[in-house]
Amino acid sequence: MKVKYFAWVRERIGKAEETIEPPASVRTVEDLIGWLARQGETYAHAFETPRVIRAAIDHAHVKSDTVITGAREIAFFPPMTGG
């Protein structure tokens, strides 16, 4: 599964994207955030306040309880500030 990071999430982790293989116990977006937060200091810093992290699966916004099964690309980013 491909994961992408944007804005300060990207900066804190130090990479824009990577391919991950989380264990089967990671079912939802929330589970994945928890699992990523345990992958090292930079990840812990990026995901230290999970409630401000937004997620998208295959280019569509999703909620934290969305099941990630079948996702090709998951993205994590802070609240958007475009426009």
Binding site: F6, H59, F77, G82
Partner: protein, 155 residues
């Protein structure tokens, strides 16, 4: 006849007059054109800003804007709409974003333009980083923008 919808994400500046002309030229069914230009300001609160850098999520940004453009077309009797969002480094006084809506009637053009801007602010995957004397920092999302977008949700 298909309603012309133009969506572009680009580093280059845009030309409001050219975009308005592209929607109206040769047509006599348009009574109202609204344009909104979002411009980089030189300060945020008390702090002077040297520049903004806009990052976006390629692919998703286009998809989100297209989705909201389709919603606007289904909700208002538009004859055309254009959304252009710049990315990269932008200095104070420069354009950031453009929305142009055209319709037979003024209220549809106004409402659709406001709707698109509110949704762009709250939902389109763009992020602004600002450069100031104190260094660079990511701009925080404003609660206000979520509320502005929420007013368009049918209850």
């Amino acid at each position: 006849m298909a309603i012309p919808v133009t969506i572009r994400i680009q580093e280059a500046d845009f030309d409001v007059a050219r975009e308005i002309a592209a929607l109206t030229k040769g047509r006599t069914d348009i009574g109202a054109v609204v344009s909104f230009s979002g411009i980089c300001r030189g300060s945020e609160g008390d702090e002077a800003i040297a520049a903004l850098t806009l990052e976006h999520y390629p692919g998703m940004a286009e998809a989100e804007i297209t989705r909201h453009a389709q919603t606007a077309l289904s909700r208002w009797p538009l004859t055309g709409l254009t959304v252009i969002h710049r990315v990269g480094r932008i200095t104070p006084g420069e354009n950031i974003v453009l929305v142009v809506t055209a319709s037979a009637h003024r209220q549809a053009a106004f409402e659709a333009a406001e709707f698109l801007m509110d949704y762009l602010k709250a939902n389109a995957p763009f992020w602004k980083r600002e450069e100031s004397a104190g260094g660079t920092s990511w701009i925080d999302a404003r609660e206000h923008d979520d509320q502005a977008a929420a007013r368009w949700t049918k209850s």
